[in-house]
Amino acid sequence: MAELRCEGVAKSYGTRAVLRGLDLVVLEGTLTAVLGASGSGKTTMLRVIMGLVEADAGTIVVGGSLVADGRRLNVRTDKRSIGYVAQEGALFPHITVAQNIGFGLARSERKQRMRVAETLQLVGLDDSYGARPPQELSGGEQRRVALARALAPRPRLVLLDEPFSGLDAALRADTREAVMHALAQEGATAVLVTHDQAEALSMGREVAVLREGLLVQHATPTALYRQPVDFGVARFVGEAVLLAGHASSGRVTCALGDLNVREPVLEREVEVMIRPEQIELTKEPAAEDGVVLARVIDHTYYGPDTVIRLALESDPSAIVRSKTFARSIPVAGELVALAVHGPVVVYPRQRSRAETVLNGEVAKSTRTIGKGEE
């Protein structure tokens, strides 16, 4: 497998710019998840890397060889040696599973059947699958076969286009595990495109966030989750609470008290991004100084955790969310104490919001926006 290096890749359809100078480096043998909302240019990016769509500008290098250079060079898809796992697999319906997997192999290798059996095993399916028509396979099995088919000819790079879409949760986890295992075994360099942040964070060694045709952040999953470059990225990779605050010397003061800042900034007005799971609540609080009190509005139960909406006592119009593993869920109207664990992230405050501060409406600018906005 080989390294992928995209530089300044741009593509427009008419006046609509879909990719606007995209830079992406995927190191040999690693998986980078590209996370983007629908319409962010994910599919176009994959098609440009594959060579199905010609870029207007920019270069793409796979394993040291230049495969695309603006309008000057566009190596044919079939000469790029880039494996592709389409959404829902796109298995050829007219041939068997084994023939599907052997499709990209040279005739001699196809006849030996060694590689077919090997890759079938690699994705966790036994030999009996080979003779079956793809229609008889479940959705998860189809995705595995699609990966086996892409890996069989030992491509330099594998592209996975939302490979788990449409699978139910349990099947998704199983399939994901099988795919990760197969990719690791082959030492594959892979790009996985998805709109599902959990998938991106759990699978990628690195995660790149694509927004409006640009990669806005490219980092390890933990760095991305803990230190998103802006609030947009923050709420795209997870739920986030945003409060107005004042930062000074490594700390920030906001409605939830005096908090640690992950990356210190100069003294200024800021917006504070807190993950709901950082906010812990205690029942039957003591009315001491410095304790942040809040009243429960309602809660949403997710099983492993519960998201509780709270109105701050200091200003009932400021609403925050807490995500906790709660054995006993507080009832609506109950008074609780809030505490923030760990450092928070601050962003420079936008002017429009500064004006609201001047008008004395700091609290109203409080926002809680999460992925699961109910």
Partner: protein
């Protein structure tokens, strides 16, 4: 860092260069007779053209032609649409049989139907019969296209409409019908264009249309330039209609928004209306299929002794005529497939202005009466490609050209169902464009190719306007033999030829109805499971 040695050649619009060139070549071949005719007509000077047009009663004949088209086309649309809806969307018993019977009239040779109607009643010899023959022979085109469209429609659309409080009728008019618009318009355009230059359908009815006039002009005077001059009228009409249709179609997008659901569509119970619907369908079949077959039987049974004698003499000619017809049909079908495949591929995979222009250019094959196209090709061959002149290859080419638009339509219906992701996957696995075509697209499209081929085959069997001009003198077909004998007093002499023609057409129908608009693993029968 080394540059890769395989640059990929595409045009600005993203269309692979090879595909574009092949499609343009196909379009040029199809348009060739039109170009030759225009040149021929203008060679005599503009005044000669005006003279030729004025000299004949062309204005009246043109109005006849337009009148038939204006009456027959909407009837075709209505018949095709209603029949398709009842077959695809209601709990009709014997659906497959109904499809077979409803498609069959398309492949029955038009001249056989024409003579049959003329023999049935003298009152049908005229506008009524002409419009009737066209309507009941061509509605299957609309039927097939609408049926494919109905099958491909996301059932959730109708279900949503019902949940929003629309009743069955409202759902049909506000949701289903708008979705069917492209199929319906496409089918109607084919019928309309074909009617304007139709000759075979009117041959028995003695109904004077434009093409009939051109034909008799040619037979009387062998004046190719006169026929060419007259054809300028039909060329103009065809071009105007093509532009009109493009304008009418507009830019609305009817493609599925997502993969949609893969359930069986709603099938409405017919309830008390069942006998009524069955009677109506039976009536359509009786007129479309019953009349030609019935008259054939009648010709056999009611003929005079003299008629039988001629018939038994003619039997010797039956086998060679069948061989020639089938050979011609197969040859033309294969050539038509070769010409139309790149055009259909372009239209399905690279939708846009370029694809539309090329696809619609092939419709110019309808700009000329078949006879004039044949003359033009004969003329072109004798001047520029002498090796083709007088041979059967020219006839094969002429027939292929004439039916390319039908082949394109039939192929599009199937190619449109093949997911592009399959081709993309093949490419990513190292298969080049040709290999992808050979190993993925063609195998999947095989039913559609068969349908397109069989459609051309059946039309070639039923042709008697190009064949007489281009057929080498020592050969004869089922069609020419039928025509030669139908002018004698006894139809019994012509009947055996018609019988073989109809038998072949019924076989074609079976292939057509079971394969039109389907892929190798049809979505409906064995769609991949998800999740």
């Amino acid at each position: 860092m080394s540059a890769h040695p395989f640059p990929y050649r595409r045009t600005r619009s993203g269309i692979p260069l090879g595909l574009l060139l092949l499609s343009v070549l196909a379009a040029v071949i199809v348009v060739l007779p039109v170009i030759v005719t225009v040149v021929q007509a203008l060679q005599g000077g503009l005044s000669a053209v005006i003279h030729a047009i004025k000299a004949t009663s062309s204005r009246e004949l043109l109005s006849h032609t337009v009148l038939v088209a204006v009456i027959a086309t909407p009837v075709c649309g209505l018949l095709g649409l209603t029949c398709a809806w009842f077959v695809e969307r209601t709990r009709l018993p014997f659906r497959k049989l109904w499809t077979l019977l409803l498609v069959a009239p398309l492949t029955v040779p038009l001249f056989v139907t024409s003579y049959a109607w003329a023999e049935l009643s003298t009152s049908l010899q005229g506008l009524l019969g002409a419009a009737g023959v066209i309507a009941f022979s061509y509605y299957p085109i609309v039927f097939l296209l609408v049926a494919v469209s109905l099958r491909g429609m996301d059932p959730a659309l109708e279900e949503s409409a019902r949940s929003l409080g629309l009743n069955g009728r409202q759902t049909f008019f506000r949701v289903v019908l708008p979705q069917l618009r492209p199929a319906l318009l496409g089918g109607l355009l084919l019928v309309l264009l074909d009617t304007l230059v139709e000759f075979d359908a009117f041959v028995g009815l003695k109904f004077q249309t434009f093409a009939v006039d051109v034909y008799s002009q040619y037979q009387l005077s062998f004046s190719a330039s006169g026929a060419a001059a007259l054809s300028l009228l039909s060329i103009t009409l065809c071009v105007v209609l093509l532009f009109g249709e493009a304008w009418l179609r507009g830019h609305a997008n009817y493609s599925r928004l997502g993969p949609g659901t893969s359930r069986e569509p709603i099938n409405y119970p017919l309830g008390w209306a069942m006998p009524l619907v069955l009677c109506a369908l039976a009536l359509v079949v009786a007129i479309g299929l019953g009349i030609p077959i019935g008259m054939l039987v009648y010709w056999f049974t009611q003929s005079s002794h003299e008629g039988y004698e001629i018939a038994s003499e003619n039997i010797h000619y039956l086998w060679p005529a069948t061989l020639t017809s089938v050979g011609l049909g197969i040859g033309s079908a294969i050539l038509a497939l070769v010409l139309s495949f790149p055009v259909a591929m372009l239209a399905v995979r690279y939708r846009g202005r370029v694809a539309t222009i090329i696809e619609r250019a092939t419709y110019l094959s309808f700009a000329l009466p078949d006879l004039v196209a044949a003359i033009a090709l004969a003329y072109a061959a004798s001047h520029y490609a002498h090796f083709l002149s007088g041979g059967i290859a020219l006839l094969v080419l002429a027939n292929a050209i004439l039916f390319v638009p039908f082949a394109v339509v039939a192929m599009r219906a199937t190619l449109g169902q093949i997911e592009p992701a399959l081709e993309d996957s093949a490419r990513s696995l190292g298969a080049g464009p040709l290999k992808t075509l050979w190993r993925v697209t063609m195998p999947l499209a095989r039913p559609g190719l068969a349908a397109a081929g069989v459609l051309v085959f059946a039309f070639v069997l039923g042709d008697i306007s190009t064949t007489p001009v281009l057929l080498p003198p020592d050969l004869y077909t089922l069609g020419t033999e039928f025509a030669a004998n139908s002018s004698t007093t006894a139809f019994a002499a012509a009947a055996p030829f018609a019988a073989v023609l109809i038998a072949l057409s019924l076989i074609s129908t079976y292939v057509l109805m079971s394969r039109f608009g389907r892929t190798r693993t049809s979505k409906r029968r064995s769609r991949m499971k998800h999740g």
